[in-house]
């Protein structure tokens, strides 16, 4: 299900494979939360590539799809807890949208561990570390996306 070029790259690195994970973080809570984890000198796996967005409601299902198709082994979306959205309701829309996408992925045979969502507030540096550690563990178990498909 992936482009042959990416497949080649993957194979060449198969032995020392480390998952690559794209993470979409909302600017107001989760990005600040991840920042807090950093400034508090908390350690967590470096497999995550953070993309900062104004709001979790900004995430288009196409973003997730493109990441997975272009070789990301997993995608994480993190936003404010419900009720805390800087724009009042953006995360409510995101929640609906991705509840459906997650179920659809599973139906079409994509490992549900590859696509996850979390609410991380600006004060939850510890939660961010926990979320990332668990995610990386799970994706390591799920293996490289290309080998599976």
């Amino acid at each position: 299900m992936i482009n042959p070029r990416t497949q080649e790259l993957k194979n060449s690195r198969a032995e020392s494979w480390e998952p690559k994970i794209a993470a979409f973080l909302c600017n107001w809570c989760s990005y600040a939360g991840a920042d807090l984890a950093g400034t508090s000198r908390r350690e967590y796996p470096p497999n995550i590539r953070i993309i900062r967005l104004p709001c979790s409601g900004r995430v288009n299902p196409l973003f997730v799809l493109k990441c997975l198709m272009d070789g990301a082994d997993g995608v994480l979306i993190a936003g404010c807890h419900t009720g805390d959205c800087h724009y009042s309701e953006g995360n409510y829309y995101a929640r609906r949208r991705f509840a459906i996408l997650k179920k659809l992925f599973e139906f079409l045979g994509i490992d549900p561990r590859r696509f996850q969502m979390a609410w991380v507030s600006a004060s939850e540096g510890d939660k961010w570390v926990k979320v990332v550690k668990e995610l990386v563990e799970e994706i390591k178990k799920a293996g490289p996306i290309l080998a599976k498909s």
């Binding site: 992936i2 482009n3 609906r96 659809l104 979390a118 599976k148």
Partner: protein, 295 residues
């Protein structure tokens, strides 16, 4: 019933209530029905109505925006119109719905195989799980006289049973079977063109900046296209089955659409096109929406 329909069309055109009536006429094969636009009283005799009237004509309404139109519509077609109205794509006052009581339409592909005598014409799959023969909204209703319009016998059964069976398969089985299905996709976009809900002036599949997925026919682009199409129909698809009917390679698109339809019904209690005053599914939310999948 057909005469009643033709008379109604004549009356509408004569009194200038509508500029044209969109309906069905007999195709040159003498058996199937094709869409037609009736613009004058004299032409109204071309209109027909029977189980061959498979197409969902709502797509044409988008081509005639801001004109007063009459349209011949089955229950499922009217649901599509309700969604279009809720999305401000259609003005309810611009359309005169000639609602048809419907006993189900034929499965076009199977009918073609069974031959012209029509001895073994079974109804389309979508009709087997349809519980409504009378449209939810109409300006005039044309009743079925020949036989009492009956609700399909299967309608009481769990209509999502086929979806549940697919869901129960293992992840690798699902991955393999869908890969095999999508491999055949030739990206003709017939599913999009025929869909009454696809009205974007520029489809994501045609965009160049950014290129959301590969335009070449390959499994990865095909997979992305089919997921994107399904997601864009989430909470909007009314299961008219046109995409699956139009698909030249026979990908079971309705299975995907119905999977999403089922999840939305079970998780959020929402059904597209069932309420005339409902907001579009993804343009609204409930504070108590389930979030057990979120950490």
């Amino acid at each position: 019933m057909i005469e009643e329909l033709r008379n109604k069309a004549r009356e509408l055109l004569k009194t200038k209530q509508v500029e044209a009536v969109i309906g069905y006429q007999r195709a040159s094969d003498g058996l199937s029905a094709i869409p037609c636009v009736i613009r004058s009283e004299e032409e109204a005799g071309r209109l027909i109505w029977d189980a061959a009237c498979v197409y969902n004509l709502c797509g044409y309404l988008k081509d005639f925006r801001a004109k007063k139109l009459g349209i011949v519509a089955k229950a499922c077609d009217v649901r599509a119109m309700i969604v279009l109205i809720s999305e401000n794509q259609l003005n309810r006052d611009d359309v005169f719905i000639i609602g048809m009581e419907c006993c189900g339409v034929v499965d076009e592909k199977r009918a073609r195989v069974s031959g012209r005598d029509g001895s073994d014409i079974s109804s389309a799959d979508k009709c087997k799980s349809c519980a409504s023969c009378v449209p939810l909204a109409y300006d005039c209703l044309i009743k079925e006289k020949r036989e009492k319009a009956k609700v399909s016998e299967d309608a009481d059964k769990d209509k999502y049973e086929p979806v549940r069976k697919l869901e129960a398969k293992s992840l690798s089985e699902k991955s393999k079977s869908w890969k095999d299905e999508f491999k055949r996709c030739i990206r003709c976009y017939a599913c999009r063109q025929v869909c009454p809900m696809c009205y974007c002036p520029r489809c994501v599949a045609d965009q160049f900046m950014p290129v959301w997925f590969s335009k070449a026919g390959g499994i990865e682009g095909n997979f992305s296209w089919n997921v994107a199409r399904a997601m864009h129909l989430a909470g909007r698809c009314i299961d008219c089955g046109e995409c699956e009917r139009a698909c030249p390679v026979g990908i079971p698109l309705r299975d995907i659409n119905r999977k999403i339809e089922k999840d939305i019904k079970e998780l959020f209690g929402y059904e597209a096109g069932m309420k005339t005053d409902a907001k579009p599914f993804l343009a609204c939310f409930d504070k108590n929406d389930p979030e057990d999948f979120i950490k």
